[in-house]
Symmetry: C2
Subunit: 387 residues, 2 copies
């Protein structure tokens, strides 16, 4: 029975024939490092041998933590100590585990708006109540958030966690300015723990990403990093940085102690990919490739669908389109509706367009089809063509 | 920075110099399939390419589910349909996830006694109350367990889950007889969900393992299988079989939907290892090797430490010794104290000896040292040598 004979699906993506589906935040197959990962695995098993296959050290293989500390130092406001690092089985698993540690059923978890829609489902599965944090043009409003938490506490509610994607936000692409970051961590220190989803940091196209909330804070922030976008989502590997005392609490959870590191063999291969320089070369190539894709989609939309307003994001995978209400999928192109990124009913005039999964020609064609869809919508509404 | 220069630990095992430590339930490094896993990874990336690195199908790669269905059918009372299969990130993760789905904080979870000690910590982390199920010589007592659950319900408590290791139990090595299995699943059907930890099924040394509770039941059982003992614990890969409706509930959890399959890349390599026949050859070799180790330790203990009573297990990794109270670690040999396998204070006269991590010569030497430790204990107690 070979891979090609499967009658059941192998992967999550299921496209419709002839449709350019910009709804999926998946990597371009052509950009996945198949050969590099094969070489790193071979080298790992040759040099690390059996230690790559047995129970791993709880927080991650030492050499990975040491490499990560230096690597993060090159990307962020400061380098973590290895004792502030914990290897996760991907950001989704990290959100679930951190939420389990911080919250009890019935607690309020604050989230930014818009925010990563599937994180909302991960959190909701923990039986917490999700509420949008107060926002202004720069991001979460620190003073209003402190006031909201105080109001909740006066009614006997706890709000022990705030989830946010402040850098190259999914879906909006926006980044919170450095000054607002400092204000936010200062205002919330001692009030709630900020869980910072930092998945897109390394996919920065116009210069380095702003320093993380974690690096700007003196405690009180758990930052989740990912190898899903930089290497491959199938690996289920990421990391977090947090206070050493928080890392110790994670490391002594029963399921970490029972299984060893949450994804040891894969973490050992990532160690080799990282320390050999293969990772840095690969990610440099990704930045080039995804920057071209961003620009191709942005240029195409300006040319073919000028009604769709958007800011060009400085990183990440998404254009966040302000679209005429009623624009639906069709004409061989698909987007993700904006409502799913809000807990409070916002986003009805928004669509998320991912430029990660297709090459520049397909993205230009998708923009052309979107333009046709808008023309048809106007025609249906009796408005005539916009020209 | 190479693997050999690490200042932080790479793996979980940390032995003391000169000590034969039978306390760890870890595989023998010499029995880990380093070359086989390297070959399977290379073949997977060559044939499956990018599909091995992107988001996986929620319940696991189709070809793995199809192979597993046939493979389980060859080991158990019946083969699951692929829709009854879900790929986990190891049994520890499976216990945690299933407990999250079945229980609420404050619920009672029943466990067998003795049982896998780290499962107790995984469950306790979910804020449930652990209680020992009533046991008799054959295993969990079905009628007494039904009565216990009814008593709990009369006081307003829920007992939605029973965790048990009925086959080559960790730590006892015992297996529940087939008739008791049928009685148990019949008695508990509709009353509580049985979570069957089936980690050691394939390490059967004296003929096939008894059919699982899952295969004997008409629903109401979630059986957790593992590749930690048969391939390598660092993989963090396992599976479960359950009713298709339960599998669908798992597959739609937020963190599964967000990440795809819980460990897709590794699952793709396991697919290759399984379908190529490499897995079956490797496990056949393991059965031979671990049978020899079991016999070497059992023979050594009979010769050197006849005071230690035990039944010879027909599978798994452990001898469960009835030992004189006060026998402590020392003399260059270490065991795991029995108390940790009970929630209710039992096991003070028990020690778990794992024969998985050492070769036969080391196991014979460990038995000799245990004999010396017992002689010294008797001398310290003024009882003289037992001869």
């Amino acid at each position: 029975m070979g891979h090609t004979e499967a009658r059941l699906p192998v992967i999550q993506f299921a496209g419709a024939a002839g449709v350019l589906d910009l709804g999926w935040g998946h990597p371009d197959p052509a950009l996945l490092p198949v050969d590099g990962w094969a070489a790193a695995t071979a080298a790992t098993l040759r040099t690390a041998g059996w230690t790559a296959l047995t129970y791993g050290y709880a927080t991650g293989p030492g050499p990975l933590l040491e490499w990560l500390a230096v690597h993060i130092g090159s990307l962020d406001g400061r380098a973590p100590d290895p004792a502030e690092l914990f290897v996760t089985a991907g950001t989704s698993q990290g959100i679930d585990m951190v939420c389990a540690l911080l919250t009890r059923p019935g607690d309020v978890v604050l989230v930014d708006a818009p925010t990563y829609h599937l994180a909302l489902r991960i959190l909701a599965n923990r039986d917490v109540e999700l509420r949008a944090a107060p926002m202004d043009g720069a991001g979460i409003d620190p003073a209003a958030t402190v006031e909201l938490i105080a109001r909740l506490q006066r009614t006997g509610r706890r709000a022990p966690m705030l989830y946010t994607v402040p850098t190259f936000n999914n879906p909006s692409g926006a980044s919170v300015p450095p000054e607002r970051r400092r204000d936010l961590v200062t205002a919330l220190a001692g009030t709630t723990t900020i869980v910072e989803d930092d998945t897109y940091r390394e996919l920065a196209y116009d210069g380095p990403a702003p320093p993380s909330l974690w690096s700007a804070a003196d405690g009180g922030v758990v930052r989740l990093g990912s190898f899903s976008k930089t290497v491959g989502p199938g690996l289920r590997l990421g990391y977090l940085t947090a206070e050493a005392s928080f890392v110790r609490r994670l490391a002594t959870r029963g399921y970490v102690d029972s299984g060893g590191c949450l994804n040891h063999t894969t973490a050992m291969v990532l160690t080799e990919f990282g320390t050999s320089g293969g990772y840095a070369r690969h990610v440099a190539g990704l930045r080039e490739a995804y920057r071209e894709r961003r620009d191709a989609l942005a240029d195409g939309l300006r040319a073919h669908a000028p009604e769709l307003m958007f800011d060009v994001p400085a990183g990440g995978w998404f254009l966040w389109l302000r679209a005429p209400e009623g624009l639906v999928n069709g004409h061989g192109v698909a987007l993700l509706a904006g409502e799913c990124f809000y807990v409070d009913g916002g986003g009805r005039d928004r669509l998320r367009a991912s430029f990660s999964m297709y090459g520049v020609d397909d993205l230009r064609e998708a923009a052309r089809r979107l333009g046709l869809a808008i023309k048809d919508m106007h025609a249906d509404q009796g408005l005539g063509h916009p020209e």
